[in-house]
C-alpha cells in the first residue's frame, strides 16, 4: 500500500445521516469571547450607555429575524419559543439596571461590566436546585454572549452567510445556531459531540445531507477553508484528502451514481418478487417535513413516524393542538398511503428523559416509552387524543413502543378506549377502527407474541433494540459492538416466532429497524414472511431493487436454511451468497 502523505488526516465518529459530501470546512467556534477591560472618564458614560442600548437593539433585531425565519422555514416551534425567552432576557431590567448603576460607580467600559453582570446570573441560575431552571442558564449564556458580541462588534456564529459547499464543523449545534442556517450552502455537518437523536443528526437527515457526530475534539484540530470529504456512511471526515483518497471516493461516487439511477427508475413499480409475492415498502420519518422526500422515492406510506421531535429540545410537553396539527400534516401528505404514528418513545438514548426523570444508571432498562406513558396518563392521553383526531383522515395507525408484556398493551388500549369515549362525547371525528400495533423490541414480547397478537392489529419489529436487548450488547460501545449480530440464531428464532404468531392470529407484521433497510437482510426477512419493511428514504431504492430481483421461493428456502445454522457467520455467508447472485452492485 502506498504510504499516505502526512497532510491527510482522518477523523472517526458516528455516521448519523448517510451520504458523502465534499467541501470546505467552516468551524463554528463557541470559544469564550475575550473581553477587554479599561477605565473610562465620567464624560464617556453616556457614550457607553448608548453603545449598550444599541447592542441590545441589534440583538433584539437579530432574534426577531431568527424567529421570522423559523416561522417561514423549517425551524420547530420549540426553538421559536426559546427565542421568545431570549428576547425577554434582552429586555430584562434585572440585567440592564445593574449595568447602568455599575457604569456610574465603577467607570469602566460597558462590555466588561456587562460581562460581569451576565456571568453572575449564569452562575446563579446554574446553581439553582430546580433542574429545568438550571438548564436555562444555557439560554442566558447564549443570549448574553450574543449581546456581548454585538457590543464588541464581533461577527456571530452566523450560518446564514456561508460560502457554497460548506461542511459545518462545530462542537455541537443548537436549534438557535441552526435556525439561521442557509441550507443551500451547507453540504454536511461534523460535530464533536452528539448521537443519532441530537439536533444536528435529525436536521441533517431531514435535509438529506450527510452528518457525522461524536468526532471528539475535531473542532480544535481543523480550520476554516480546509478541504474535506465527509462520509456519512462510514462516519469519517477526511481532512485535506490526498490524491488517492479523492480517486477512491471518485470511483465510489461514479458507481453509486449509476446504481442510484438504475434503482430510481423502479420508483413507481411495486415491491414484488419475481414470482409475484408483494411486500409493503414504507418509510421511517422523524419530521412531518420528511414525507415528500419519502413519497418521492416511491414509499407506500409511513411505516414509522417517530414523534419524539415534538418533545425534544423543550422543557414542557406539547399540547394536543400542537400535536394534532403535525399528525394531520403527515396524514394528509402521505395520502393515499397510511401512516403509523408511534407514541412517545423517550428514554434510553433520548436525552429528554434525563430532564423529566432523575438520571438513571441504566436508562435502556429504565423508565421510558410505554412505561413512562402508562405512569403519566395525562401525557399519554393527550398524545392519543391528537393521534385519534388526525385519524379522521382515515389513514392513521397507532403503535406502542417498548412493550414487554401483554398487560401493557391491554392497559394502553384501555386508555385509548377512554380517549375515544371522550372524543365521541365531545363530538370529534376520528377513525373508530383505527389499527393498533405493538412494537416488538424486547425479547419477552417476542416470546409472548402469541398473547400480544390477540390484542393488536399488527406488529412492528424494532430490530435495533431487539438485537441489543437479546444479546445484551450496546452497539455504540466499540468494545462489544462486534457481539451485535443480527444473524445470531437467537434473533432469527425471535423474528420467526413473531411472524408465525402474527400470521396465526390473522395480523400483519413489519420490521422497522435498520436491518429492514440493509440489502443483505432483506431476502431473509421476506423469506420469513415479513409483510412490511419500513426503511429510511435513502435505503428505499436499493431495498426495492433487491426485492424485485428476488424469487420468493428462494427467500423462503434461505430463511429455512438459516434457522438450521448454528453460527452467525454461516448465516452471513448464505445471505452474502444470495445477494451476490441477485444484485452484486448493492453488496457492501
Amino acid at each position: 500500500m502506498v504510504k499516505k502523505p502526512s497532510t491527510e488526516r482522518i477523523f472517526h465518529g458516528i455516521g448519523v445521516s448517510p451520504g458523502v459530501a465534499r467541501g470546505k470546512i467552516i468551524v463554528c467556534s463557541i470559544a469564550e469571547e475575550v473581553v477587554p477591560e479599561y477605565d473610562i472618564a465620567p464624560e464617556q458614560i453616556p457614550q457607553e450607555i448608548a453603545r449598550f442600548e444599541q447592542a441590545l437593539i441589534t440583538t433584539r433585531g437579530q432574534l426577531h429575524e431568527l424567529q421570522q425565519r423559523i416561522a417561514t422555514g423549517t425551524g420547530s416551534t420549540a426553538s421559536s419559543s426559546i427565542l421568545d425567552v431570549h428576547v425577554s432576557i434582552t429586555e430584562d431590567p434585572a440585567l440592564i439596571e445593574p449595568v447602568m448603576t455599575r457604569l456610574e460607580q465603577e467607570k469602566r467600559n460597558v462590555e466588561s461590566i456587562f460581562n460581569s453582570v451576565a456571568r453572575k446570573y449564569v452562575k446563579t441560575l446554574a446553581e439553582l436546585p430546580d433542574e429545568f431552571l438550571r438548564e436555562r442558564a444555557v439560554d442566558v449564556q447564549d443570549v448574553t454572549r450574543r449581546i456581548l458580541r454585538n457590543l464588541l462588534g464581533h461577527d456571530h456564529l452566523t450560518l446564514s452567510d456561508l460560502p457554497p459547499n460548506t461542511i459545518v464543523v462545530a462542537y455541537d449545534l443548537s436549534p438557535s445556531d441552526t435556525s439561521s442556517l442557509n441550507r443551500q450552502s451547507v453540504v454536511g455537518f461534523a460535530t464533536d459531540v452528539g448521537s443519532h437523536t441530537s439536533h444536528t443528526a435529525i436536521m441533517a437527515r431531514s435535509m438529506n445531507i450527510p452528518a457525522v457526530v461524536g468526532l471528539r475534539d475535531l473542532s480544535q484540530h481543523v480550520r476554516d477553508g480546509q478541504s474535506a470529504i465527509l462520509d456519512g456512511y462510514s462516519g469519517t471526515l477526511v481532512v485535506d484528502p490526498n490524491e488517492q483518497t479523492l480517486f477512491i471516493y471518485g470511483q465510489l461516487d461514479a458507481k453509486r451514481h449509476s446504481v442510484a439511477e438504475r434503482q430510481a427508475a423502479l420508483r413507481d413499480l411495486p415491491a414484488e418478487t419475481l414470482d409475484g409475492h408483494r411486500v409493503t415498502l414504507s418509510g421511517n420519518i422523524e419530521l412531518p417535513e420528511d414525507v415528500p422526500a419519502l413519497l418521492q422515492v416511491g414509499a407506500q406510506g409511513v411505516g414509522l413516524f417517530r414523534t419524539e421531535f415534538l418533545y425534544l429540545g423543550r422543557k414542557d410537553f406539547p399540547n394536543e393542538h400542537e400535536q394534532a396539527e403535525k399528525y394531520f400534516q403527515v396524514a394528509r401528505a402521505a395520502k393515499p398511503h397510511s401512516v403509523i404514528i408511534r407514541t412517545l418513545d423517550l428514554g434510553g438514548d433520548k436525552f429528554h428523559s434525563e430532564e423529566v426523570t432523575p438520571t438513571e444508571i441504566n436508562p435502556f432498562l429504565g423508565f421510558r416509552a410505554i412505561r413512562f406513558c402508562l405512569a403519566n396518563v395525562d401525557v399519554f392521553a393527550t398524545q392519543l387524543r391528537a393521534i385519534l383526531r388526525a385519524s379522521a383522515e382515515g389513514n392513521v395507525k397507532v403503535m406502542y413502543p417498548m412493550i414487554s408484556s401483554v398487560n401493557e398493551v391491554i392497559q394502553a388500549n384501555e386508555i385509548l378506549e377512554q380517549v375515544k369515549f371522550d372524543l365521541r362525547q365531545e363530538g370529534f371525528a376520528f377513525d373508530e377502527d383505527i389499527q393498533v400495533g405493538a412494537m416488538i423490541e424486547i425479547p419477552s414480547a417476542a416470546l409472548t407474541a402469541e398473547m400480544i397478537a390477540q390484542e393488536v392489529d399488527f406488529f412492528s419489529i424494532g430490530s435495533n433494540d431487539l438485537i441489543q436487548y437479546t444479546m445484551a450488547v450496546d452497539r455504540v460501545n466499540e468494545k462489544v459492538a462486534n457481539l451485535y449480530e443480527p444473524t445470531h440464531p437467537a434473533i432469527l428464532r425471535l423474528i420467526r416466532g413473531c411472524v408465525e404468531a402474527a400470521h396465526n392470529n390473522g395480523i400483519w407484521v413489519g420490521v422497522c429497524g435498520e436491518i429492514a433497510g440493509e440489502p443483505l437482510y432483506v431476502p431473509l426477512l421476506v423469506g420469513m414472511g415479513v409483510d412490511e419493511l419500513s426503511v429510511a428514504a435513502s435505503s428505499m431504492p436499493r431495498v426495492k431493487e433487491v426485492i424485485r430481483r428476488l424469487r420468493f421461493s428462494d427467500a423462503q428456502e434461505l430463511a429455512a436454511a438459516t434457522l438450521d445454522a448454528t453460527r452467525s457467520r454461516d448465516v452471513l455467508a448464505m445471505l452474502n451468497a444470495l445477494l451476490q447472485r441477485i444484485d452484486p452492485d448493492v453488496v457492501s
Partner: protein, 102 residues
C-alpha cells in the same frame, strides 16, 4: 425593585394583590416566565412577585426564574399603579391557564 411599603401615589393610583398557586407541572421555568413578563409589561404598574419572603420584579424574566417556583408553590403578586387591579387579574389568569402548558 418595588418595596412593599411603597407609598400609594396620586389619587388614581392603587394597589392590588393576590396569592396564586403554580398548577402547571413544570413550574415557572423559562417559557412561563417569558409569558409572565410579556403580560406584566403591558401594564404601567410596578409588579412584584414574592415567594417565601423573597421578592422580585415581575417584569424581569431572570428574577422570576431565580424564584425557582416549582409545581404547587404559592406566589404573591402585587401591583402598584393605576392599572394594578387589571394587571393582577390578567396575571392570575395565566396561572389558572397553567401558562398554556400541560
Amino acid at each position: 425593585m418595588t418595596s412593599p411599603q411603597k407609598e400609594t401615589g396620586p389619587s388614581n393610583s392603587s394597589r392590588a394583590s393576590k396569592e396564586c398557586t403554580v398548577i402547571n407541572k413544570l413550574g415557572i421555568h423559562a417559557r412561563p416566565a417569558a409569558l409572565f413578563v410579556k403580560v406584566a409589561n403591558k401594564f404601567e404598574s410596578d409588579i412584584t412577585v414574592e415567594k417565601d419572603g423573597e421578592a422580585v420584579n415581575g417584569k424581569s424574566i431572570m428574577g422570576l426564574m431565580m424564584l425557582a417556583a416549582g409545581h404547587n408553590s404559592k406566589l404573591r403578586i402585587t401591583a402598584d399603579g393605576h392599572d394594578a387591579a387589571q394587571a393582577v387579574r390578567e396575571i392570575e389568569q395565566l396561572f389558572l391557564q397553567k401558562f398554556n402548558e400541560d
